[in-house]
Structures are given as C-alpha cells and as structure tokens.
C-alpha cells in the first residue's frame, strides 16, 4: 500500500522533517522488498546488519560477519544497556588480478544498539562461527522480573 505524501514545494518543512520523511519511505521500501531486495536499488542500511531477540531473560544479538574471526571484533557495553560492536574487514589483495565484479563491502564499521533493559556485562558471551557472530547478553539482576510479595495486615 502506498500512502500519499503531501508535497508542498514552497514549504518542504524543516531539515529534520525531510529526513524523517525520507527515512519513512526507505523503511517502507525495506519492509516491502526485504533488505537484500532493497539492495538491488542501491539502498543500504547501517552495517553490519543485526538480528536481536530475547529469550529467558537474555538478549541475543546476531550479526553476519563473513570472513572475520573473533579477533576482528570488539564489543563494548556502555551505560548498562548499550552494546557497541566494532569490526574491520580488510579487502583481499590478489596479485596481478583484475576485478570483474565487486559487491562485497570492506572497511571499518561501528554499530550502537540500545537494548530494552540493562545487561550484566560480566556475563556476556560471544562467539563467531562460520561468519556468524552470536552474542548472549543476560539481563542485569535489577532488570529481571521480580515477584512481589503482597503483605496482608
């Protein structure tokens, strides 16, 4: 479904409004075509792409990092609930090679993600297998569900 956007060329709104409109249109396209489909039109979001879910009072973050090993990844927990992922992928040098096609992305990337609750930084585990990074972030004690005893007089 395409929503109609009113466009007044004489008053495009503030810069922030215009960026919000653009982001909304990009998100709509990403939802419709999927991330890979949108790439066919030259649209790319922040990298690396992340999948995040919650299970058993633990947050799970997954990222696709082909060609990397754990030593190429740095993880930081800041402010209790913020995860920072820093990665670098160096391009492959081929002696006397002529590139006929270049689609893969190389370079340094940083992703910052706010998790819905504080995590216990001491208990975070991460592993990188077959190009997939999986991080387990157990919720901090203070963020876990608490059963409240109701006292009766």
């Amino acid at each position: 479904m395409i929503s109609l956007t009113r466009w007044n060329p004489f008053d495009p709104g503030s810069l922030v409004d215009q960026f919000n409109d653009l982001q909304r249109d990009v998100n709509r396209m990403l939802r419709r075509w999927g991330r890979d489909g949108a790439r066919l039109f030259g649209v790319e979001g922040a990298l690396p792409s992340l999948n995040v879910w919650e299970a058993d009072s633990t947050f799970h973050v997954e990222a696709e990092l082909p060609g990397l090993e754990m030593k190429d990844v740095e993880l930081f927990i800041t402010g209790g609930n913020q995860l920072r992922i820093k990665t670098e992928r160096k391009p492959i040098q081929v002696e006397k090679g002529k590139w006929l096609r270049n689609e893969r992305i190389f370079g340094s990337f940083v992703r910052l993600i706010d998790l819905p609750a504080a995590v216990d930084a001491e208990k975070v585990k991460a592993k990188l297998d077959n190009g997939v990074l999986h991080i387990e972030l157990p919720k901090h004690e203070s963020a876990r569900p608490r059963k409240i005893d109701i006292k009766t007089e």
Binding site: V94, K98, W99
Partner: protein
C-alpha cells in the same frame, strides 16, 4: 568499481515466491590464469552449497534453514533464506580443475582457464 556487465548474472527469482531470499554478495577476479570467485555465505555449511558449472555458466545455490522461527524479535535487519545466482562467465574454463573451499562463511572458487585461452607471450623469431 568494476563494471558488472563484464560478468552478467541473473537471480532466478520468482517474484511470486513469499519465502525470504538471500542474495549473496560476490566478487570475481581475473588473475590471468584463472577466475577467482568469492561469495559471502555467512552461516551456510559447505554441504548445503550447490555449485555447478555448465555451458559457460556458474550457478551458486543453496538452502539455508531459518534460524529465528518462533522467536520474539526485537529487531530484524536481515533475512535468512535460500539463494540462487547464475553467472555468465565469458572465459573458457577447464571445468575438470574447478575447485572450491569455504571458510569463515566465505566461499572461494578457483576457475582455471582452459589453457588454450590463457594469455601467451609469443616470441617473435628474427
């Protein structure tokens, strides 16, 4: 950025298909004696990769099991799904010597050129 029309490809996509699709990113290099293809296939096991060369075309396909069914996703920025891409290689390849390895989610395929088509320096007699 290389001109991608040097190695045309097609997706073999069925636009009516609902299943999520993964489009692996591929780099192709010509070293003179062989074509080298690199494909990013994170999370794909070597035994799930179907790689075949026929009539000058290299097809890369595979099935990838969904990993996040039934989970409460807080954020989902990429899909996990099957893939299929076919590349038209204009070089003549010695198909018996094609070999491939997969490490850290990267598939590396060596496609040696048929020797008749390798560049040859010809000595000119005086």
């Amino acid at each position: 950025m290389a001109d991608i029309t040097q190695v045309p490809d097609r997706q073999n996509l069925d636009v009516n298909e609902q299943a999520p699709r993964f489009i692996p990113r591929v780099d192709i290099c010509d070293t003179g004696s062989e074509l080298l293809m690199f494909a990013d296939l994170p999370g794909v096991r070597p035994e799930d990769i179907d790689l075949r060369y026929e009539n000058g075309e290299l097809t890369l396909k595979g099935k990838v099991q969904p990993r996040h069914q039934g989970k409460a996703m807080y954020r989902q920025e990429y899909q996990i799904g099957d893939f299929e891409r076919t590349f038209e290689l204009h070089e003549s390849i010695d198909s018996r010597r094609i070999n491939a390895e997969c490490k850290d989610g990267v598939l590396k395929v060596h496609l040696p050129k048929a020797s008749a088509f390798q560049p040859v320096q010809i000595k000119v007699q005086g």
